[in-house]
Symmetry: none
Subunit: 137 residues, 4 copies
């Protein structure tokens, strides 16, 4: 159950000026790492103290992020050993999924509207992405 730190492939990157809460960024990036395959079940995450030092943030903030991820079932902490990616339970309820999609789309449309774009322009631009398989990250 203990495994090499995936340090060469997975690096957290904070943007303190984005307005997004720090703990939220940590959570999102761990989730993203799992989704993208950079983090696999069993991988060990950096220790709370180490990550706090690396990111120059408060350890409490790391603890909070890890705790929320653990509550969500994505992490497992083992006293004295470390924090690890747990066996997935990825699939969310469909209702939750739908709501999430709707929120992403609404946000996207909102930003487009504020910038003077129409939804049609948005769709057109998205089509451009759909053709190329899109190497993500």
């Amino acid at each position: 159950m203990s495994q090499q730190l995936p340090s060469t492939r997975f690096r957290l990157q904070l943007d303190l000026h984005s307005g997004v809460p720090v703990y939220r960024q940590v959570i999102d990036q761990v989730r993203g790492g799992i989704a993208s395959g950079m983090l696999a079940a069993g991988d060990q995450l950096p220790t709370v103290r180490q990550l706090a030092v690396d990111l120059a943030i408060n350890p409490n903030t790391v603890i909070r992020a890890y705790r929320e991820l653990e509550l969500g079932g994505l992490l497992e902490t083992h006293q004295g050993t470390g924090t690890f990616i747990s066996m997935q339970k990825m699939k969310q309820a469909d209702a939750e999924r739908g709501r999430q999609l709707a929120q992403i789309v609404a946000d996207c449309a909102s930003r487009a509207g504020a910038a003077g774009f129409t939804v049609d322009e948005l769709i057109e631009e998205l089509r451009g992405l759909a053709v190329e398989p899109a190497r993500r990250r």
Copy 2:
């Protein structure tokens, strides 16, 4: 300056359990309404008091949302008269515009991808927002 309320086509819908601030939801939906074509330059928005009653929220919350939209240049408020969709802020140079659209789309696609949605699902959801050109005015 005075024009029919677009009431039959534009309806605000709050989700008080989403965790998204109410004033933010109002802002996002107005911006989305502009992007989708449901709201056009010159249209009058519901009055502060009316919208507060409709949504069962405090007038101050509506004012806050309207104000932020006005600061962003999307609305114009005229004391004693009402609140209106402003004449679009001058369209920026096309190059800058294209870059901006690309960024919004990329960000949107990235978030959707991280959550396990395909670009096609995104497009499908966006279509739900788009509105046929419609005979306006």
Copy 3:
């Protein structure tokens, strides 16, 4: 005391999208007309109804502007005759003058700051104006 309307020289011009209250714009422009010499003591102003029609605004708004100007001693209204420019009493108290200057300067500095300019740049640019006699209006 009744004299030709100075219509060919003095025209009010409103900007309904400026955010400046309509009655304020009327007041300021009449004051400006007097200061610039376009309006002289004894000149008759447009009637309330006429001006309301010309500017497509509410007569109450015109009344309010004229009333405030009269309170300030710049206009005289004569029942059944019309509204006229009164004999000047232009010079304000020095204190009031100082406060006015301070406000203009503060506003100017504020806008400069918001746009990323320094006060020094502002002064430099103003110097450019000081050399040419500057034909005003």
Copy 4:
């Protein structure tokens, strides 16, 4: 991210009888402070609660002013940390910048002129705001 409050050099001063909204005065003075060099990128502003106490106004009024400044890109707020002067919004192209400065200056001079002040008086008053480069940091 944390830095000494510039308390000895930057002091807000309200005029409750000027008719200018309190939140507006706060905004204007912060923007003026940036323009005059009293406030530099990274400086922390007084906390919301502290400023509210100092000025004897409601914290909400301070929040409102800070928020508008943040929307304008001049401030960054970090929950639980404080409010800071943001790194200047990228300086625009020089041409655009020059045009903008000219407009601010022209408007300022115009208002001053209409009120019977000379450009020299304007410059003199502005000098009062400017601050010697000073050793900062």
